[in-house]
Symmetry: C2
Subunit: 167 residues, 2 copies
């Protein structure tokens, strides 16, 4: 795997666990066994790296939703995977909470992620109210599960969403 990909991996994990401002070029370099100047070679500014991470995250997110037989269940699955496999919340959930404190072009990319999510959900669920509830509760449920260090609140959110949708 090339350095760029490794940098994107390490940055995504660190932002998702600690927040944008808790990620430094030196820490990333140490993790990869290189020097911080080499990180700057691949991404001149920190916001270039941040923007690239969000773009890759968003692309992968929607690819994982392709051709799902049950859209809402598939949608919940993607978030559940992100939470339990990676032991971290949604990248855009972290960055959205820090919106005003991060560079404008990174915040713009996060905004686009949420707009695309609402469009996808509205398209597949047919109702924008249900779309708003699904996105908000899953994002909030991840954040609270992380704070409590207990996934059960996320599981309850998922169960409620699917049971109310079946009515």
């Amino acid at each position: 795997m090339d350095t760029v990909e490794k940098l994107l991996d390490a940055t995504e994990r660190r932002i998702r666990q600690n927040g944008y401002h808790a990620v430094s070029f030196r820490d990333l370099a140490d993790e990869l066994g290189i020097k911080s100047a080499s990180v700057h070679y691949h991404f001149r500014r920190k916001e270039d790296l941040g923007k690239a991470v969000v773009e890759r995250y968003s692309k992968r997110f929607f690819e994982a939703l392709d051709n799902a037989p049950d859209p809402l269940a598939a949608y919940c699955d993607v978030f559940e995977h992100a939470l339990k496999r990676d032991e971290a919340i949604c990248l855009c959930g972290v960055l959205g909470a820090e919106t005003r404190g991060i560079p404008d072009d990174v915040a713009a990319e996060v905004k686009r992620f949420f707009e695309d999510n609402l469009a996808w959900l509205t398209n597949h669920l047919g109702d924008i109210g249900n779309a708003a509830m699904a996105l908000s509760s899953l994002e909030g449920g991840m954040m609270i599960a992380q704070s409590l260090d207990d996934y059960s609140i996320f599981d309850r959110v998922r169960a409620e969403l699917l049971s109310k949708a079946a009515q």
Copy 2:
């Protein structure tokens, strides 16, 4: 108003808008027209300040819920006020997203806030599934509304919560 109260105000606003790591003693001092050494006189370490802010926030939050005739509507109101009057999301929503990247004692105070919220909601709504949905969707709805710079998603969440509760 004394310096401690002014510091708590400024810190709360800055964390809620930008995140924990985007708040510095110098910025706080500048806002109050004092020097950063004077901030350290009142709060020796940054985590002492952070913990005090969460404690005050939590105390005020539950005071605002006292004696509400309609618990769920009152609960939504508190979050709506926080979002629209302060033009910022929930303090613990920001800190919860940064959980692993902030000092342990601050994270512990945030965890307690969410535990208390779930207990209050479960007590007043009677069902822990509804409690999980209310807390998660309101927290998530605030965060996404901030990212989109558009409150309508929060308003939809609120409307959905109240209409589903009435069924």
